[in-house]
Symmetry: C2
Subunit: 231 residues, 2 copies
DNA sequence: GAGGTTTTCGCCTTCTGGTCGAAAACGTTC
DNA sequence: GAACGTTTTCGACCAGAAGGCGAAAACCTC
């Protein structure tokens, strides 16, 4: 088969959701060889008549309610000839994001696993998970990708906790609010949340202005002067 | 064949080189059907025992001296079922960069074509070329990727011309020098170039401190405080 | 030496991000 | 209802990064 140059093409998804201290990734436990008992990313064979994005959405729908997946983007191709058993398989990996307040129904073989305590992982899916987490962290700082992690409306403290968990380090609420509002990605709703049981000033509620990915400012330098004459 | 779910996998390369007013892309003219006479990106079939990056380098070596290609990175997968004639093919696209002073030998069917006046393009290779150019432009502002466009040593004016051509808009020499040196990607050589035939102060020469890709500052905001506890 | 050309450098302004502490708005307790 | 603790919000201040401009430097030719 491979002698003809034809190769099986898979799609895989690193689906992340921000949970209490660290993000969690959606994994399912393999029941059959190879790698029986190990945990794998959702995915499957690229079918005829669909492109890779349509394919990953189709396979994802078997493990999680697609309506809860707020963002999907292509990560990278994994094609090491030894990345799995023969016959050879090439995989296109995707990153998927689920808001922290969503709790979609998942099958019995599937679970959210915190990324700092992963179970035994099948094939190279650990490396792929790492790539997904890296991509999320990079994009948090220069895009509005937070819209895919947060509930529809939220307080700045909630958003701060989400960012801190995703990034793995402390985030200042003051700065987060100022930066995101200045960039226009955060808009106040005018409403406030009820204070917690221990009191405290009621938090103002915000929402993301857009729910599609937008690059806010990767161009610290070398910005077009005014009217950019695109080539 | 596709009934078995096995698909031909190609690799393609958008090889860019900054030329006088606008960048040029390496294309070759097809001599056989399908799309005979049209211009296509270098590439070919993914072989057994090689990953996609090794494969694209192998195919690229047929069209250009690989030693002149200063940088190669994966772009994206193109998998629309109708992107070419049957049987179906999936392609992993790469971006390759050649310094402006290099002039590698190329075969007779191959040529550098300015991106603002492309000949008739085969298949979806026009879209892929566009993706490569977009990637280069984005990375120019927050990485040191300029090392792959410029000669070993160069003046600030030369570099300014390269950046302006790649970005498609005016770039200030003052800012370019200050930003790149502050980020540590540009270091002075201490030498100066000979003035032009019409005179002028001799230009100080610089070089890139590193010749491998490094992200300089995508994290305008949300930087880790000090010791980042990585998860 | 005068005039033209190209590059370099310093100054100024603006904007962004980081830090800190005070003030606001709640609930609880005495 | 006044004092206290808690949480959030807001303003002030500071450092650094970047854009713009013009003067100065260093060369050429005539």
């Amino acid at each position: 088969m491979e002698a003809e140059g034809l190769i099986a093409h898979d799609v895989l998804a690193v689906v992340l959701r921000i949970t209490s201290p660290v993000p969690s990734v959606l994994l399912w436990q393999r029941a059959r060889e190879p790698q029986s008992g190990r945990w794998a990313l959702p995915g499957g064979r690229l079918g005829a008549g669909e492109d890779v994005e349509a394919s990953v959405r189709r396979h994802l729908a078997e493990k999680v309610d697609l309506a809860e997946v707020a963002h999907v983007e292509q990560l990278s191709v994994f094609s090491d000839p030894d990345r799995g058993p023969q016959p050879r398989r090439v995989a296109t990996a995707f990153l998927g994001l689920v808001p922290s307040d969503a709790d979609p129904a998942i099958p019995g073989d599937t679970a959210w696993r915190p990324v700092d305590a992963l179970p035994p992982i099948a094939f190279d899916h650990g490396e792929i998970t790492r790539a997904g987490l890296d991509r999320l962290r990079a994009k948090l700082s220069y895009t509005n990708i937070g819209f895919a992690l947060a509930p529809d409306v939220f307080s700045i403290s909630e958003l701060r906790r989400l960012y801190a968990a995703a990034l793995g380090h402390h985030v200042s609420a003051t700065n987060l609010q100022r930066v995101l509002t200045r960039r226009g990605v955060l808009v106040p709703t005018g409403t406030t949340a009820a204070p917690g049981p221990t009191g405290g000033r009621p938090a103002a509620l915000f929402r993301f202005s857009e729910h599609t990915l937008r690059v806010t400012d990767p161009f610290a330098a070398l910005r077009p002067p005014s009217g950019a004459g695109a080539v």
